[in-house]
Symmetry: C2
């Protein structure tokens, strides 16, 4: 066993030297920029093709609600990302191909292949969802199945399933705890969580692509910091996927920001979520990655009452567009008090006091009815800030994402040292 | 170099013993059958979802031309195929996972991963083509890019680029010739050819899925024969992909045969073509595989004058449905004699004499006009056999596929021994 571990580890490490890493990353960055430019140019070129195929949506927060915006443009981003990665693999492993006296680093190569396989599967699933409107069960089962090869590669490359305990718990449990299979369940759930969490933190121009770029850049910064650690190889691996991912997503953001000339579609949110899951799993930072998803996690937890239908959930939970002001304001769902469980209503009243939800009695024709804001972080932000322009709203949420990333670094570095 | 070769070879071979192969193949066969049943049951269940999404086509060779048949059902086949393969990988490599004293066979594992990656990319491309109607240049460039990782794996697993010369040429060239990079160009072209060739030999109920099942079963039989050769591992690998492929395609054929309740779409033809290319390349029989595609190759060559617009090419080249007889007959394209190059016209007249094309002067309102049958194997068969029922036509073409496979075995075994 020890032999096998050291063989794999030395294989992984030997597959790229520090110097080789720098060169590879530089080349990766160049191809990524080219890929980004390709995405930026391809999107307008294929717009009419998407509109003709009926892949379009109405932009609900605009005066002209009838004009169509091409949907599922994540397909372009994802395909160009895959092309960039295929070309990069040729470069990264070319040194081994040209110098066949050394053994080829198969372990490292299969990490790339399995990552791209998972991402490609999610791109397909996302596009199928955009076209076919898949049922929820598929959206939960398929990412789990797609993450199987990823978990296998994690296993055979002898990934650790050991969790470091906080200092407080060490007297009882010890320094570390090997949670074994639970760790694999956690990773499979991470894949499902990531693919769906970006998907539900969405709906206003530029938010899906913007949050992806901010979170991606934050993770990349974390990887760069860790390049000097003993786990350099894992973080190098993550960077090789993240650079083209950020570049192509940024190009998508360019067309997706206010006023949107392209919508990203589930194609992009699934692709994006799985990419984060993949780099976190193979890069061995599957717990840290969640720190960079604090707004998404909050949004998910905050949405739970509506997702599980404890509170009525309308088809769209987008902010409401106020044409007179050209601003968006928090949208609401109507509550039928007689059908609500008493404890849910009581809890909502407490949250109302805490200004975490807004309950309102209707006036005029709606007199007597009870309304609650739709439970998304977008609407909560609007409750706190008051109605604002859609562009301002997206920028506010992206600044929030940047601040939460800053907090993540504080938690990961100074604070973690206190507790671990 | 020799060390590296022997290390890889022994790694590949050691990854599975003859006994292990038999067990793995048996398990693979069982999961494949389950996968086939899943496809057969899922297709009717998702039909309304596909119709609602506008993924449907009219069945042009039926009395009721308005009824819609769901299109792109290859998506179901392809997704179930991937799921089956993911589960199978768990089984096939599980022995190594449970017995971590042995080194994990990374070289073999990356062969599977890269194969599934290429196939998944083509599934995505095919589905995108069905939805978006991609331009021809994408259909040629994208399969080439998608086959890059495949060629890399072929290279690093030290695939041979040596071609055995026929006895006639040996006095001049020698026993073998290493054609080096040309071999890689050939393999990339094989991927492009396979993905497109099934796509253009299509259009009547059951033909796309039927030809795939026949060709797949033929290649599988060839692999089984070769399991006793020194290249057993490669053929075992091919079988592991082909069994689920045949099972899921057969289930699709069940719904696609006359009268079709499902159309396969480019999703299926691309998926199917790439699967053949992948098993042929990684299984090291990239020349032999063409023997099993003789009808497709003939159809491609026969189509060239229309594909390259030397002869006018209407949008559909399907046979024409004769409602009175409930039979299909060869369809025709109108030739504008003044616009034709003289040598094309002369060649067509020679081919007419040889009964390989049918030129006809119009009568009645079309008097004076010149017509030629659309240049597909389907129409040529109808010229020779006369009008027949659509079901009969598909069966005739599938029997032709079986006979050509029989001929392939004659060429590969007794005949090849004469010349090689």
């Amino acid at each position: 066993m020890v032999m096998a571990v050291s063989a794999i580890m030395s294989q992984l490490a030997a597959s790229v030297t520090p110097n080789g890493m720098a060169v590879s990353l530089a080349i990766n960055a160049v191809i990524s920029v080219v890929g980004g430019v390709m995405v930026a140019r391809t999107i307008p070129a294929v717009t009419s093709m998407f509109l003709k195929a009926g892949l379009s949506g109405r932009d609900l927060c605009k005066p002209d609600k009838e004009s169509k915006v091409p949907e599922s443009m994540g397909l372009v981003t994802g395909c160009v990302f895959l092309i960039v990665m295929f070309l990069f693999l040729g470069v990264a492993f070319g040194q081994h191909i040209l110098n066949p006296t050394k053994l080829f680093p198969h372990a490292a190569f299969s990490e790339y292949l399995t990552s791209l396989l998972c991402i490609c599967c999610m791109l397909l699933l996302g596009f199928a969802d955009d076209v076919l409107n898949l049922k929820w069960r598929y959206k939960l089962v398929l990412p789990t199945v797609a993450s199987l090869p990823l978990l296998m590669v994690y296993y055979v490359n002898l990934g650790s399933t050991t969790v470091v305990m906080p200092k407080l718990l060490r007297p009882w449990i010890g320094l570390t705890l090997n949670i074994g299979p639970l760790y694999y369940i956690y990773m499979a759930m991470l894949a499902v969580f990531c693919t769906n969490t970006i998907n539900i933190y969405a709906g206003i121009n530029g938010l899906e692509s913007g949050q992806t770029v901010v979170a991606g850049a934050s993770v990349a910064l974390f990887n760069i910091i860790e390049l000097s650690s003993s786990q350099a190889f894992s973080h190098y691996f993550s960077l090789c996927l993240l650079l083209p991912f950020i570049a192509t997503s940024l190009a998508l953001y360019y067309h997706n920001r206010y006023p949107a000339r392209a919508f990203v579609g589930d194609t992009f949110t699934y692709f994006s979520g799985m990419t984060f899951a993949v780099v976190a799993i193979i890069g061995h930072f599957s717990k840290t990655v969640l720190l960079f998803f604090m707004p998404q996690i909050f949004n998910f937890l905050y949405s739970i009452p509506q997702l599980f239908r404890l509170v009525p959930c309308p088809r769209h939970r987008l902010p409401r567009y106020n044409e007179k002001l050209d601003k968006v304001e928090a949208s609401e769902a109507e509550i039928n008090e007689s059908e609500m469980r008493w404890w849910v209503l009581a809890a909502l009243k407490v949250l109302h006091r805490l200004k975490l939800v807004h309950l309102r009695r209707g006036t005029g024709p709606d007199s007597g009815k009870l309304f609650i804001n739709n439970l998304t972080l977008i609407n909560l932000t609007l409750l706190w800030s008051g109605p604002c322009h859609e562009r301002t709203l997206t920028n506010t949420l992206l600044i929030l994402q940047v601040l939460s990333s800053a907090l993540a670094f504080v938690i990961r570095y100074p604070l973690a040292d206190l507790f671990f």
